[in-house]
Symmetry: D2
Subunit: 361 residues, 4 copies
């Protein structure tokens, strides 16, 4: 139902962009794990806006306050709830859109679904701001996964037409860390420059631009996941499409496989130097039949351009029942993709931890 996901680990997100607070409840978290608040804050910092020209000036601390489930930086086993108070909100900016829905936002669908009662301010419950509590959950999941030798990392694979280099077939935790430490999350620094140029160009034209994110997870045991509708891909897809602005997802070779021959696309098995069975290529993205095969999980997420742009846009006035034009004031990201990098990591981490628990690990 709505804003909850997970089987053994139920992650439930609440809040509206301009309400009192946003937050997350995590039910089913294993007990006794130390959670470093500093590391969590560092992780949260990666999605935060207001830090440079490439994102929104709305700068909030956005640091979670724990209400339950943690005692002395250790999980207690009971449901963990963390909240982030809202502040620095300028609701007036959004007042008009209850009548004139912003194109490609959820205003129109929310108005219709909730019959005019929804809190539309700042996108309400549909705001990208709600990815902050997802990052709280993901940041905690990442720390627990590390105890199982599992690491998750992502980078900005493209912005507009500017491309980063892809992950190598066997990315390692050091690579993930080095990307995470950068102010702009790419592998190649020259790619970062090109991407930034495209973002700034869009910004100058009061426009926005999309991008893609590549994510990988390493260290997973073979045999994780269930067949058919509850495999790793199914669970990841369900959550990743819950990140605002995501409209596309592929695993391993993805859409490119549709142009290949089987003889190219198939991943031949072989023994590696440690006597483990691996595949020579990873077009399966680490998943066969929904189940991990021990290779890195590899996926790519397509992010649409931020729908809030400064230019005049055509819409309707519901009240007047006529076509009209709006200009969206307020503060917006010319590109949301770079801030979504840790959000994708968070989503993947939550799903993997849940799947580990479902498989009795």
């Amino acid at each position: 139902m709505g804003s909850i996901f997970g089987e053994q680990l139920k992650i439930s997100i609440f809040g509206e962009s301009h309400g009192t607070a946003i937050g997350v409840t995590i039910d089913g978290l294993p007990a006794g794990f130390s959670i470093s608040t500093d590391r969590l804050h560092a992780f949260m910092g990666r999605r935060r806006g207001g830090q440079n020209a490439f994102s929104t000036p709305r700068a909030e601390a956005d640091l979670p306050e724990f209400l339950s489930g943690i005692q002395n930086e250790k999980t207690t086993g009971a449901p963990l709830c963390a909240i982030i108070h809202n502040q620095n909100t300028r609701s007036g900016d959004y007042a008009p859109f209850a009548d004139t829905p912003r194109p490609s936002h959820a205003d129109f669908t929310a108005i219709r679904k909730w019959q005019g009662s929804s809190d539309l301010r700042g996108g309400g419950h549909f705001s990208g701001r709600l990815t902050a509590p997802l990052c709280v959950a993901g940041g905690i999941a990442l720390q627990i996964l590390e105890h199982h030798g599992i690491f998750v990392g992502a980078h900005l694979a493209s912005v507009g037409t500017a491309l980063d280099e892809p992950f190598p077939i066997f990315p390692d935790a050091a690579l993930f860390s080095s990307i995470a430490a950068k102010p702009f999350p790419t592998i190649s620094d020259s790619a970062a420059s090109e991407m930034q140029a495209q973002i700034l160009a869009a910004r100058e034209e009061r426009d926005s631009v999309g991008g893609t994110i590549e994510c990988a997870a390493i260290g997973l045991p073979v045999g994780l996941g269930e067949p058919m509708f509850d495999g790793i891909e199914n669970r990841l897809a369900q959550v990743i499409f819950g990140i605002p602005a995501v409209k596309a997802l592929e695993f391993g070779g993805g859409f490119a496989l549709s142009e290949m021959r089987g003889s190219q696309a198939n991943d031949p098995f072989t023994y590696n130097e440690n006597g483990e069975i691996v595949t020579k290529t990873n077009n399966s993205g680490g998943i066969q039949g929904g189940i991990t095969n021990g290779m890195p999980i590899r996926l790519r997420v397509g992010i649409k351009p931020t729908p809030s742009i400064g230019r005049p846009q055509q819409t309707v006035s519901i009240e007047k029942h006529e076509n009209t034009t709006i200009e969206i004031g307020g503060r917006h990201d010319p590109c949301i993709a770079q801030r979504a990098v840790p959000v994708v990591e968070a989503a993947v981490a939550c799903v993997l931890l849940d799947t580990l628990l479902s498989n009795g690990k």
Copy 2:
């Protein structure tokens, strides 16, 4: 868990390719709907193999026997169970693969997950054959959706590098029917010829080729779906990634949006000639914030090449702990994508009916 999906409509698929029978249980089906067996058989016929040079010679009737939930061609409200007996199986073909897993099949992951106890014959529970019971459920869902004025259709959008033309912005039920009536499910007949040429070329080289499927759904009310993790996209993704060989999925503009500016990607609202609010473009694929906006739902699915190919392939012998080579005998589809067209329709229909029920329609 595994082979079950749905909230109000629980669809549970069972069976192994070479076991006694495969089947589906549908719990939560509304009572009193007439289900035409003839129409269901016609729908099932679209995914069946053995009909031409483009698919496997394994020809089975594959028609469902109803055990419950239907009386006098009308749903009773109680769980519906339908089974399809297996026959014409040549299990010997598959015996060796318990030791030498076929590349890019689920043999290896199944062996490890189920510790050698899984029924690997014909791919067991992971076989594409298990899409037949999904089509039973989908064929029933489609008939019920029609009573709500909702229609679902799909076509083969590409095979290898051969492309069909895309759906128009407002596809209609007649278009869906005309494609469904064709022996090869494309909009453009010349595209069909090109695709068939690519399939036959692959077949001649004992190889296989991938493809993509475009699917649309029309007639949906505005406001269907839930925010975040239980939206239309999330639910569709969870089920569509349960179709064997699917490795990619996009909604509306999909990955192409990542290269666009917001001013191009955003769908402007406007009143149509009937005084309804529509969008001028449909890059959102009919879904904003996870919720239907009344425009056609539009999605594209990437299908990898059939992993079973006649050429020798590299794999390992688990027992001998060494690299080795296999040749897969048996009967295979040089391209699975055209048979997956009704399967995608089935998946979409099941999810939409479930979502309608969840929204109290």
Copy 3:
């Protein structure tokens, strides 16, 4: 939704009393467990009618046919489906009740819920016959639980006013077996005679009589279950109230605790001779805060008298919109409680196996 329960182990029951077949799908069963068909048949035999004067003359083999999930008497890991074909049905007996609902049956509610489309013959999906597939699932679960050293047993604790003796504080597997081997499932044979006398008396008066069942489970590890709404009691209750005719359920001291003082009701902890922590009494029924404490689980189920009785009963004619009287022909059990004993065991076994799996055992 409806006829499905379980978290890691999804058990889905389908079928109508006079349809083609009834059955069960079990999704999530661990792979590689040997299931003895003989033992399963013996277990099923305990719920079967037609064996003596105390139950219905409808005698069917009621033995399950496996469609999937089992190969060479061993679970494969894929969903297991088992069906039981219906036969020996005399549907004509039930035809009139679509207009004149039988008191305290589900006819009226089914008619209203499913708007006249439900299959009412023999109680349709609400028939006690649907406990046969639950027993298939339970019989399998019991065999797997034994591998974990867990045993479940039950006895008929009362019929009308005739009482069996209660389980001792530490019942053992031998006691469970000895009861299971009896034609009438009581601990005390003299209690059995009294109960049978009450059943025969009811039968002679074309009436029926209720009873209670006590069930216990031993060998459970400490710490199984979750707090609040997903504890052992919650899960057991959800399933046990799914057994037709169950209207009451208590754990440990149950309702009697409401008349006690805390000093009597509390279970003092102590070390036993093996150095394990046990409690001196077991008013908690082995469960504290929803979680096992290592003591035997103990519960009592209240079964109402069979609602089908031979006497004339007052009801309404829906069509004529007037009060009327019916006599129910057909074949009925004067007491259903003794046949429900293995059904309660089955329900408990399914829940415990599911909970074990949810807890990663």
Copy 4:
């Protein structure tokens, strides 16, 4: 999973007795309903302690702060989160029990389940205090149910051996209100006096006493609920057994039916003066086959004596591995049953609202 329940309405409870805050998230609440804070506070007030000699002196405001989902006292459709800050806690009182678990509390099971990491202070997540957020959810559900003409009420049916009179066969909303307005929730005032005498007697002996609660719900449409495992009884049972200290539950005639003949127990149908089909008796408790028949839902809950008593009790020292004795200081209710009356109403209201939504009302 743990502390979440519901299908369409997901209610998720978090918090520990002596942590920062406790609270509840309600996902799936219909939009646009006015929620009176005053009425909610009045409802919450009924479960609050510290008001008289019959309950604990720990007096807290316990009023919820809304973080989301409510704007101008109206539901927005997005998940509602409400928290209650903890205060007035004296954690020192509970420190010793990590080693010497209190009999019939969840200390021992929590220690074992969560391997020593659980927050045991004040019972942690298992504390009766966690019924406050359940009452927030229930208080909101009750207000929404009233818009559907559905009312829920309960009374203290017994304390120890002192009995209140039962609800009449057709209780009405006025009766529910009059009980709710009383300082001690019984129908009969003389019964209240007897009960209070038993509570004070227990208190004087540093002991506690149990009780039972009868609850009814009126105004439900016919045909609500699903067969088998998702009926009204199943859902109610799952939640009601989540209320601490509940060890028994029966519907309609309950355990007493087990001693009856079918001819007594069956509820004859008849037309009432308004031409509606009703039953002459209500041994079914308004539910047949798991589905509402339009009669009042009627259930009875058994509450054990408060396990915290002032007397010395036998337990073990886990560290010293020896038997020992504890005395529980702190503040305790000599009887918890009267405070549980609104909690049972809350649980029932939440389940009924969820079921209404699941049935598309």
